[in-house]
Assembly symmetry: C2
Homo-oligomer: 411 residues x 2
Amino acid sequence: MALIVQKYGGSSVADPEKIKHVAERVIKTKREGNDVVVVVSAMGKTTDRLIELAKQVTPVPSEREMDRLLSTGEHQTIALLSMAIHHQNEKAISLSGAQIGLITDDSHTKAKIKEIQGKELLLNLCREGNVVVVAGFQGVTEQKAVATLGRGGSDSTAVALAAVLNAKECEIYSDVDGIYSADPRVAPKARKWNYIGYDEMLSMAKLGSKVLYLRSVALAKRYNVTIHSRSTFSENEGTRVMAENRIKEEGKMEEALVRGVTHDLNVAKMTIVGIPDKPGIAARIFETVAKKNVNLNLVIQSISGNKEVTDISFTFPRTDLPKIVEPMKELTSEIGAQDLIYDADYAAVSIVGLGIVDTPGVTAKMFRCLANENVNIAMIGTSDLTITCVVKEDNVKKAVAALHKEFDLDQ
Amino acid sequence: MALIVQKYGGSSVADPEKIKHVAERVIKTKREGNDVVVVVSAMGKTTDRLIELAKQVTPVPSEREMDRLLSTGEHQTIALLSMAIHHQNEKAISLSGAQIGLITDDSHTKAKIKEIQGKELLLNLCREGNVVVVAGFQGVTEQKAVATLGRGGSDSTAVALAAVLNAKECEIYSDVDGIYSADPRVAPKARKWNYIGYDEMLSMAKLGSKVLYLRSVALAKRYNVTIHSRSTFSENEGTRVMAENRIKEEGKMEEALVRGVTHDLNVAKMTIVGIPDKPGIAARIFETVAKKNVNLNLVIQSISGNKEVTDISFTFPRTDLPKIVEPMKELTSEIGAQDLIYDADYAAVSIVGLGIVDTPGVTAKMFRCLANENVNIAMIGTSDLTITCVVKEDNVKKAVAALHKEFDLDQ
């Protein structure tokens, strides 16, 4: 008998009808002969409503109390889902984060999972024939205070449970039926993968695919948990995310060097022109940005003809632009640079695949393809599994479509 | 330094503005030099809304899961009230029923408190300068399942905490500023008492005064906790409920033999006429009523001129009439009685006071007073502290007013 962990997000349990539908899916898996542990989020917009309530009480709520308040959302869902399963004549029991012994560190509102102590309890409840319904997104600190795990926290709960319970796989349900080679809204011919490696998935997620959270994929990689990304609204098999070498061993490698074309529309670009070439000045620039809590994506330092001065360009989330314009203007004049140029209408287009950076000709092929489409490349960056080009936002759609075709991804 | 337990019900914390008002009251008590432990209920109609959600999932929800669902209401209030106290620059910390170690029996949805294990934790948090904000109405079973305490559960939590913590008193806030000698809506000249004994209060509550729950007064009597019934919306001192002998010792006895005139409009009366006088027949009647879970109030057996037959009359909550009409009709014919008469438009009017039953002339004075008002008495009953007359419902108002004047209670 296999044990399956299933995770359903807020939109899958948004109202009583949807909760009943989830109960049916859970029971189907159970009646196919599996033990089932279900992890759920708060219903629909519950979390937003609770945050709004707190704001009406105080503009800066204590994080400990905020965590207590938010944790009630999942408590409601686990009770209601358990009732819905009972109503369909199966045994079910709800457990909170505290009750499964999910211990976190002390960083309220964005706590990290330290361990799950309730393994034996969970297995016993399964053995007694129960579907175990667990509150996602939450645990308790060593001091027994409720702590929430932050964005994507329910996914992390599910993956951690799958690891502790040696589950066959961790099914993560959303309104998308798996991982595609590109966003189907931008590239209509995008194909769904049956299998994808952890590192490929991490590169895809980081660059803009919204199906799985980075943190839960990283956790799955660390504990070798197979994630099965599926749709709540279809019976189709989705995409299994697992170790690249296991995919190879099981002969399930799909023949494709490039596995995805991703894009990120939230990109701004800033260039400081004519910086006096003295030690320590680059450091001052990046300290100024870091102080405002802005994460940089690509950074390029270019030395112009005049060896006395350099230009530094970088990209970052467009939404952070207002935070750094004024500090960077001040800095530009302080360090005696010539000019500060910034522009919000950029985007990043990337190709993702294990080994593409080391395969001769891939980079050249990407550039030639974009040139053929008259797409100018403003900046270029590479990392282990990705090659990224920064382009003007209005070129994104044709760039993604052309690259998708060029690398034989079209269905 | 004294420790005060305060309890605020659902209407006192119905929205963020009211929660802020409660925070002010709490802080005032704290700044007067007291340690404060606050017990709160769910906000306004939250509990009703959650029950409605559950009904949309299944008509017969599991009681364990229902308790989990309902317990989230108080969790939200304790988080929000703690935030509101922080906002006014005092330290506060929220604790759930589980966290204060409130252990209950296994009767989900109407559990009884077995013990509170968290005394040291609570006292330490107070010593560190915190207002401790506790979720009312809930605890955990020995198996660590969340259990709720049923109607008036938050009052019971507050009184139990006051007992465990040796609190100076347990303030129970509502929209009424204390215990009156009669319902002011019926008797406009009703007076507020400064002190009232446990047994008098129990008799008043049982007979229809809605300010305090019977169960919490009984608990207070058992552990000798002083309850202070006060209004959320006024600064006036309310009524202190404490042991009769302590009121005497402290010289705070108010001179009044009768302490209250109460009434109960939810009364029906049933008479089985001409019952053959054989052993066991009365038992069969009361078994039939008990099987339908109907509690009897007054019972009178009258022997008519003919010694072979008797009549039995009893009163019970009017709302229970439909449950017992058919079974009693069947029984009447089975036992060969002559007739079954029932009538829903009765009411009970009582006078309450320690010692009134043993004081010569009180009963006679009550009857004469009602007779002067042309109020017919259908049945009479007495218990330790009360004399009750069953009268027609449309006589209630003049009966209460006349008795209130007769026993010198008018202000």
